[in-house]
Amino acid sequence: MKKVYDCEIIKHKEIAPCIFMMEVLSEEIVCSALAGQFVSIYLNKGEMLLPRPISICDIDKDKGTLKLIYGVVGKGTAELAAFKTGEVLKVLGPVGNGFKIEDTIKKHIVIGGGIGTPPLIELVKQLKGKVEVFLGFAKDSILEERFKELGATVYVATEDGSMGIKGNVIDLLEQINPDGDMIYSCGPKGMLRAVDLWGREKGIKTQVSLEERMACGIGACVGCTCKTKKKNEEDWQNRRVCKDGPVFWGEEVVW
């Protein structure tokens, strides 16, 4: 039987304003976790009932730990930020499908926007061949160094121009004009849609990791759906981000 695991917090720190890195111990989750999957964190705090979905950022099979990186955007993530090292968190996972990683593909374009960047770390760790990473942020960049450590070439754009070029990730793509066989992306929906369009123009297959508000987080409530094509934009169906996603082919999505 699957279960909600009690995971000890091994490390927890603020890595940028209102952005936290948390490392939790969980052999059970680690042993089957894939890049692009997520976990659900149960705060079980009186007025907050629903679990919070957070992407798996970095898997350490040896230590049996997962790294999660999250932004404090509301009550739940604020509560999460108050947990201390040594405390125990209720975590369910891994959930969802992951990024499709094919060994035949040699040139990878990885695109992250803001707090959508973390799951791309584990992805880049697992990709073989040439990896170019394009990141867009409002202001502060995160994880740039970590991508470089993993051997990727990293390009950054910030909206205020404080780091990298001034603009968004699409501006960056148009400026660098990279070449590749597969795009992997995670970030705000508007960005993913633009990435999908850009990929389509270039003729590069695109994977997008979507977000949606969730209740069960395991595929039972049909709360977290996104529109996907059966045949075309008109003949579509609703699919579950938590179970059928979060990673979809860009071409499947009805934006």
């Binding site: 699957k2 679990p51 069960c216 039972a220 609703n238």
Partner: protein
Amino acid sequence: MKKVNMKINIAGVELENPVMTASGTFGSGKEYGEYIDLSELGAVVVKGVASTPWKGNPSPRIAETYGGMLNSVGLQNPGIKEFIKEDIPFLKQYDTKIIVNIAGRTVEEYCEVVEALGDTDIDLLELNISCPNVKEGGVCFGTDPFMVEEVTKEVKKVAKQPLIVKLTPNVTDIVPIAKAAVKGGADALSLINTLLGMKIDIHRRKPVLANRMGGFSGPAIKPVAVRMVHQVAEAVDVPIIGMGGIMTGEDAIEFILAGATGVAVGTANFADPTATIKVIEGIENYLLEYGFENIEELRGNLLG
């Protein structure tokens, strides 16, 4: 070995224990079946199923509220054909009862689903009369006693399995609605469905739900649910399945003392995938602690 008798009887169907899943919160059990043994449940009440596939509402469909949540899933379902092909055989692997929640926008649609289920090996039907009635211009069937009686009567005519009618709480007085369902032939009642609620995202200045309003569930609504179950239990003689915010065995006991025969666990599954099992254990513990041998002794058993 269990020391207490948890069996209940709903319209001739015997359930091993009074705890079921609330429709729409548990799919057809496949996903939660990875976290709990479905054979432990009194019954699995599946998500609402209609005569044809429904796409449901646009996303976001979920909003969290203080002690509760809103959903505007809009009864997305694959239609009765697919349901019979896929979900019934899956559930038949388990030693539990199957209750099918029926959705429809017209009396005809309800009847189609019920007829299609006539030859299947399911145990009970649960008619969800909170769907908007397209013929009446989108008014909900469940808010008008006359319509409640009519739709119940028509569905009952074609039903091969006993019929539970599920009531909406969004009414001035639940009692005439409950009586109308019983008059129409309901073998049991279940309540409450979700309250109608809304949440606004003040930062985006938009309703959180794409559909603006949604069904409000979870522990926040329990006092309304307990009140309605109590009112209905005093007014009708058929068994009642109580639900609305049940998180623990104690919550379930509250409904049983209010007059419910069975209870259903909905939103709590989202907060803890093993919630149903914990509710069963909690009820057993209460019975043991207070020296009851039989769950039936507890129903409506308020003192003084």
